[in-house]
Symmetry: C2
Subunit: 218 residues, 2 copies
DNA sequence: TAGATTGTTAATCGATTAACAATC
DNA sequence: TAGATTGTTAATCGATTAACAATC
């Protein structure tokens, strides 16, 4: 009652796990079969203890002297991150960013797919992007319910984002990847993850300025 | 000596500041002139003390009872985040993501611009995207030095990213926004900010799965 | 003056790091 | 056995939150 479900995995760890996964798949492709925390940490610019603690949360077990079986480790990460089940998403807003995401092939490696895209502009409706149909947005609710899609991607301008989000949620969407630079107001059960490119770029900018002007005062 | 320059602003705060800024510019456009931490916090899903502490780091001062002058607050944020000086960037890799970034107009609001784009493919070289020329990558070093560009954006495939980064750095680039899903190995003075879309999507996926299967065990 | 809100110091919380034991 | 590496408990560090004083 009033259960604010706390994720077992702390957010900082959760942010690192997919990056480990990406690195480890690359190592696996190179033929590596066993790997130690120290070598993962080195490649990632972290310390070994942190990697070990993080991996512990996936349930993976390593062996003294040789480290982790890479295959087991990848499986543990796949289970933890949910790559072991297919995830279908609907994307709304086929502007340049929406198109870029529709073209992005890498999601498939994680068992994630964009099933269809939606827009209100006649210019894009009816087209196909990388094999995915672009449909009129008014068809979103019925299709969403019919196909039981739970994940939505918002790539519309900021002004339209809240309205699109509302329609998504009333259509059964339970998790939203939001590229519009606004804070969506939605029921608590809906999971929102914001991707704010400008905000992210600002961080780089500030880090640079800090380093290059940081010593004039103190 | 051995000065590992510590940023005055803690990273969690630095991540929130641009989001405040975006919200505040929208409020300013609506005609709001004074604003309290409480109202900012509410719109952002945070608590007022946190907002106040964050804003303190920008040097902005508020007044009891009425809060902050919105105009002053925006100026303080602009100074803190470096929006008050023009920043020019070079982008490498004109695939779908690179194109999306070239089309993205919002950067201009922050005094950030992409001066030119580079690629090795004849298909895109010589074209213009949103007024920005796409040039052969071999011209990167000379142009970069000539124009004193310090910011680079990497939108090439993972396999090519390290090499592109190396060339960037040897051409005078000092800060890199990296969209390739690998950890770049570069000199310490170079600032790297990774934008890992797949990793980010994984976080949403995991949060969803945690909430929707989290109660079966405990 | 009373009330709202900022500014600031102290307490809490959680993640990272250090230290060390266990084990192949 | 010696050495490398995992696993785990304790110490540290830093950010968030709470409490309260200052002020318009």
């Amino acid at each position: 009652m009033g259960d604010k479900r706390i994720p077992q995995i702390p957010l900082p760890t959760l942010k690192r796990l997919p990056v480990y996964y990406q690195y480890l798949t690359r190592q696996a492709r190179k033929g590596v079969t066993d790997i130690s925390c120290a070598s993962i940490a080195k490649a990632m610019g972290l310390v070994a203890v942190q990697v070990r603690k993080d991996l512990q949360l996936t349930g993976a077990v390593g062996r003294p002297k040789t480290g982790y079986r890479l295959k087991e480790l990848l499986e543990a990460l796949e289970r933890t991150l949910g790559y072991d089940n297919k995830t279908e998403m609907f994307l709304v807003g086929v502007g340049s960013l929406g198109k870029a995401l529709l073209h992005y092939r890498r999601f498939g490696d994680y068992n994630i797919g964009i099933a269809a895209a939606f827009d209100v502009s006649e210019d894009v409706i009816g087209t196909e992007i990388d094999g995915k149909p672009v449909l009129p947005f008014r068809k979103f609710p019925s299709l969403c319910r019919r196909l039981h899609v739970k994940f939505g991607i918002i790539c519309v301008p900021a002004e339209a984002a809240q309205e699109v989000a509302n329609i998504m949620v009333s259509s059964g969407i339970e998790a939203i990847w939001n590229f519009a630079p606004i804070t969506l107001e939605l029921p608590d059960m809906v999971i929102v993850h914001n991707e704010n490119l400008t905000a992210s770029l600002s961080i780089l900018l500030k880090k640079y300025k800090t380093q290059h002007t940081g010593s004039e005062r103190e």
